[in-house]
């Protein structure tokens, strides 16, 4: 039987909610639909009080409904208008209540930027892979440059800002301008040549490459590969200050230092003279303090030396010598005294011995001592002849006598 039976269903029917939710799930599980850029012309732009943005983008054959919630719409720098060619970024899903699929947008930008942006990303990626952005390539900016090279347009506000900043902060520096167009077709070539000329003829301590704010097209010269390579090849370190805080150019990535603005670049290149003056005060104070300490130390040394001197003065030495002499003399006297006593004892012994031998003592005992002519001692009879005159010595005197015949 081929007739469709209303009462014979292969499965239960879906509710509208169910099928819309099903389609929504389907879309939201598709990675292509979840993150994409869509290009088209804006129409039916509505800005209700809620702050959300409702519009349609279309090309010749088709249209796509879009919504951007207030939170994202508030952040838009670019203000879209009906008729604008734009690129819209977001995800596609289903508005279940209306049964419509639409693009939930989180970014809108004027068309054309997309191509530039892709070129930017491609070059950024390439140079990054070459290592041109590597932190270890970044050179130190000297603390107090003697010569600063500036690459910018002679007519731009950037130059005035940079010179004013340098004059205010560090007027001791010599500035060498190497002029270059900073926007337009010739700009990349001129910027590159200006950097190279500075390195060739001046060899500045640092080079500032700057340009004031502008549209992305205005700043495009600083996304040029030739400029990027000239910055990388510069012998002098380069500070890049292009556009505003939020603009990041390729030259910024390659530069040794990125400054958010030209003024900031001039600030990063120089010390502030107010700080220099404080440093000078510090140095002067250090000198004075060191000198005061030095003198205080010397004073201490002097006091110590004076004390040492008094301790070792000749007066003290003399006193001590005198004491020593006293001491020695006492000992000498003592020693001499002892010696004399010994001598006296010995003498007494010798005297007694001598006494025993004294002829007088013999004479005292009644003996006589007879001497002949010439005082010769008479010991034998033969010592004398008749008529010789003899002297007989007895204990108390002499008796002269004659030898009888």
């Amino acid at each position: 039987m081929s007739q469709l039976s209303l009462f014979q269903q292969p499965r239960a029917s879906f509710s509208v909610s169910e099928i819309n939710a099903y389609i929504r799930d389907l879309m939201e599980s598709d990675s292509t639909l979840q993150e994409l850029w869509v290009q088209g012309e804006i129409s039916n732009l509505g800005r209700p009080a809620s702050g959300h943005l409702y519009f349609t983008i279309k090309d010749a054959q088709a249209s796509l409904r879009c919504v951007m919630w207030r939170s994202q719409a508030a952040n838009l720098v670019y203000r879209p208008q009906n008729g604008d060619q734009v690129e819209v970024h977001g995800s596609i899903s289903v508005y279940e209540a209306g049964g419509q699929y639409q693009l939930y947008a989180d970014q809108i930008r004027p068309a054309g930027e997309g191509l530039l942006f892709q070129e930017y990303l491609r070059l950024k990626d390439k140079l990054e892979k070459e290592g041109l952005f590597a932190p270890e390539r970044k050179r130190r900016i000297p603390a107090r440059p003697g010569v600063i090279g500036i690459v910018t347009s002679l007519t731009g506000a950037a130059l005035r800002d940079m010179l004013n900043t340098l004059q205010r902060r560090f007027p001791l520096v010599r500035v060498v301008l190497s002029p270059a167009l900073v926007q337009g077709e010739a700009a990349p070539k001129e910027i590159k040549a200006a950097i190279e000329r500075l390195n060739q003829y001046v060899q500045p301590d640092v080079i500032l490459v700057g340009r004031g704010g502008g549209s992305i097209e205005d700043l495009w010269a600083f996304n040029d590969e030739g400029v990027a390579r000239a910055v990388a090849a510069s012998a002098a370190p380069v500070i890049c200050g292009v556009g505003h805080e939020t603009d990041f150019t390729i030259a910024d990535f390659v530069a040794d230092l990125r400054a958010p603005t030209p003024t900031a670049a001039a600030e990063l290149a120089t010390p502030d003279q107010a700080e220099l003056r404080l440093d000078l005060e510090d140095l002067k104070n250090s000198l004075a303090q060191l000198m005061a300490e030095r003198i205080q130390n010397l004073r201490w040394q002097l006091q110590t030396a004076a004390f040492e001197l008094s301790r070792r003065s000749p007066v003290a030495r003399l006193q001590s010598d005198r004491q020593r002499i006293d001491d020695l003399s006492r000992r000498a006297a003592l020693a001499l005294g002892n010696h004399a006593r010994l001598q006296r004892i010995r003498l007494r012994g010798i005297a007694q011995q001598l006494e025993a031998l004294n002829p007088q003592a013999v004479l005292n005992r009644g003996y006589a001592l007879v001497t002949g002519p010439g005082g010769k001692l008479v010991k034998q009879v033969g010592d004398v002849s008749a008529g010789d005159m003899l002297r007989v010595r007895v204990s108390d005197g002499n008796i002269d006598a004659e030898v009888l015949p």
Binding site: R144, L172, V173, R174, V176, Y201, L280, L287, M291
Partner: protein, 75 residues
């Protein structure tokens, strides 16, 4: 002390460099009192020189021509 360049011939960088060196030397404390007095006085003069240079400084701006010549640039 070694032969000294007259203070007025020194540029900022030279004066500052010598000043910093003199402070270090005084810190070392190995010089005689007489030398130290000399260092102290010269250091004071160097500091004055730096300050005077800052006071008098007027930004010198030149323009580099395509041929590599330098010309004065009026701000």
């Amino acid at each position: 002390m070694a032969k000294e360049t007259p203070i007025y011939e020194l540029n900022y960088e030279q004066a500052l460099e010598e000043l910093e060196k003199l402070v270090l030397e005084l810190e070392g404390g190995e010089r005689s009192l007489e030398d130290s007095m000399g260092i102290f006085e010269r250091g004071q003069q160097l500091a004055e020189r730096c300050t005077a240079l800052l006071d008098q400084a007027d930004l010198k701006v030149q323009q580099l021509t395509g041929k590599g010549d330098l010309e004065d640039f009026q701000i």
